[in-house]
């Protein structure tokens, strides 16, 4: 697999755009129920603090602070963009699909209908050392949802 298949254009773009980045600058909407999670990858020091705001069963906002490689930052950005507007159940189900693809070592293909831009991370599944990079914000989101719900 070539480097360009791993670092797809969407990933490189999102690693710069960092949608949803900046917890302090993005206060949670009033009245929403929030949950926050901090995740750390001790191997490389990648770090994400992620907050979800839920309003009447809908994800009103997903904001985060983080430092890490382009895969981990892009994945948080894509997640933030996708999650807003989803129902909590929808987001949980998307996280599960994402995990299934990432843990499949390349055997399970990503369905763009389900995963949208996150399907671009399919290639990461072939790089065992990078799966955690792609997963870190999704694990944080799952944890944060549990606290918000």
């Amino acid at each position: 697999m070539s480097l360009d298949q791993l670092y797809q254009q969407i990933i490189l773009d999102h690693s710069k755009a960092r949608h949803g980045s900046g917890l302090a600058e993005t206060p949670a909407p009033e009245g929403a129920s929030t949950g926050q999670s901090h995740q750390l990858n001790p191997v490389c020091g990648d770090e994400v603090t992620l907050r979800v705001a839920v309003n009447h069963g809908t994800v009103a906002q997903l904001a985060w602070d983080g430092a890490g490689c382009s895969i981990s930052m892009a994945s948080a950005s894509v997640l933030s963009e996708m999650a807003e507007g989803m129902s909590v159940e929808e987001l949980r189900s998307v996280i599960e699909s994402f995990r299934e693809v990432l843990r499949s070592r390349g055997k399970v293909h990503a369905d763009p209908e389900v995963l949208g831009d996150a399907a671009a991370f399919e290639g990461v599944a072939r790089y065992a050392a990078r799966v955690k990079c792609a997963m870190i914000s999704w694990v944080a989101a799952e944890d944060a949802l549990n606290q918000a719900a």
């Binding site: 480097l3 490189l12 490389c44 020091g45 890490g68 490689c69």
Partner: protein
């Protein structure tokens, strides 16, 4: 009378290493002859683990094919032969670092060696408190009011065992800081190491900065304070001539797998008079004299510190690795690697947006360089290089406090060994020069 100690007569007769010799050396290392991602492998991660020459692989295989048996027990032919090669290996390693035979303890790695010292010292305090063991143990145990000193550039393996020793004994852990250029603040060292200091532990060569620490000066500071000295020789023993007696350290540790040997074996050197009195760290078979249902008496060093079935094939293979290094000549290896290290640093410094950690080009360093690429995370750098068949290490290199001190969380490290050519370094530099453009940093 002038006494010439180095280089040895043999080494003076040999010319300096060059690329032609390295290419011959590479023929001894089967793993290096392969394509990675369609490119010839450029292995620059020997600081993490080195590769094995055929002689090492064959020594281990020969042991299993012809001599495999438990050592120090049994009177049969194979047991005697296995014991002989196992103990011959100890002598080979002792000669390699200028130690006496009984001062070499096999461990599973350098980390275990450091933990062994840490636990033997806290056990010394426990024994002394109950009047058990040699009277000298009273001076070796630590307690409240005592201090342990390390440096800010230590690998976690030479930091955490001392944090835990401090925790177990009530002693305080202090450290000698590093300056921005990656050198120890020696002036502060002389103040930090004082009459309360019982032990000074430091690395000979930094696995991140490449700095070679001034062992003689640090040992002198420790001696004035009456402190024990522990030397982490993981990044020095494989790459330069080491003589533990000349350095006058009390303990030294290093790993087999970083010096062309197998994994699963490390070496602890300890001064005879210390090993003779220190209590064991692990207990069980092979290290006792008399055992009753209530208590046990222990063998003298080194067996006292080698509980259970030993790393026999690994010891034999490590001796083969030592022989390979000795035959090549460590002073020659050191000079060659210094050249590669300088080439790396000079080349990296010339690339826009690269910050090299540790000594600048032209200053002493071992053959490695860790660096930060502005706007690109180390993981991405490593992935980019891997796509070109270049193997480097990324992350904090088990030195989080040092990275924090330098304002970083992760860096990329290239580390050379005797099988790397200047072409390897140039290939690596060429790849690094393309990293920022690829990631649009």
């Amino acid at each position: 009378m002038a006494v010439v100690t180095t280089p040895t007569t043999l080494e003076r007769a040999l010319p300096a290493m060059d690329n032609a010799e390295v290419l011959r050396i590479r023929n001894d290392f089967p793993v290096l002859d392969q394509l990675v991602n369609g490119r010839p492998l450029v292995y620059l991660d020997s600081g993490a683990t080195s590769q094995n020459p055929l002689s090492v692989i064959e020594a281990e295989q020969e042991f299993y094919e012809q001599r495999n048996a438990a050592v120090h027990r049994g009177a049969h032919h194979l047991a005697v032969e296995a014991t002989e090669v196992f103990e011959d290996a100890r002598q080979t390693v002792a000669d390699f670092v200028g130690a006496d035979y009984a001062e070499i303890v096999w461990t599973s790695n350098a980390t275990e060696g450091l933990n062994l010292i840490s636990y033997a010292l806290s056990n010394a305090g426990l024994w002394a408190a109950q009047g058990r063991g040699d009277a000298r143990l009273r001076e070796l145990g630590l307690g409240p009011g005592d201090e342990i000193v390390v440096t800010e550039m230590e690998h976690h393996a030479n930091l955490i065992p001392w944090q835990e020793l401090a925790y177990r004994t009530g002693a305080v852990l202090r450290y000698i800081p590093v300056d921005d250029s990656g050198k120890l603040h020696l002036d502060q060292a002389a103040e930090i190491v004082g009459e309360r200091t019982r032990l000074l532990a430091f690395t000979h060569a930094s696995n991140v900065l490449g700095t070679i620490n001034p062992v003689a000066e640090l040992v002198a500071i420790a001696r004035r304070a009456g402190a024990l000295v522990v030397l982490d020789a993981c990044q020095s023993a494989p790459h330069l001539s080491l003589n533990v007696k000349q350095l006058d350290v009390d303990f030294a540790v290093f790993s087999g797998h970083k010096m062309l040997g197998p994994t699963g074996i490390g070496v602890l050197y300890g001064k005879q008079e210390l090993l003779d009195v220190l209590p064991p760290y692990q207990t069980g078979g092979s290290m006792i004299t008399t055992v009753t249902m209530e208590r046990a008496e222990y063998l003298a060093a080194p067996q006292r510190f080698e509980a259970g079935t030993q790393k026999i094939s690994q010891a034999v293979a490590l001796a083969a690795a030592v022989n390979y290094l000795t035959e090549t000549g460590l002073d020659r290896v050191h000079r060659w690697e210094s050249e590669l290290g300088q080439r790396m640093v000079a080349g990296l410094e010339a690339i826009d947006g690269i910050r090299v950690l540790g000594p600048a080009a032209g200053q002493d360093r071992i053959g490695l360089a860790a660096f930060d690429v502005a706007g690109v995370h180390a993981h991405d750098v490593g992935q980019f290089l891997d796509a070109r068949g270049i193997a480097v290490r990324v992350g904090h290199h088990c030195a989080q406090p040092l990275h924090r001190r330098l304002g970083l969380t992760a860096t990329t490290r290239a580390s050379a060994y005797l099988y790397n050519t200047t072409d390897d370094v140039d290939e690596f530099l060429d790849a690094v020069s393309g990293v920022r453009a690829y990631f649009r940093a």
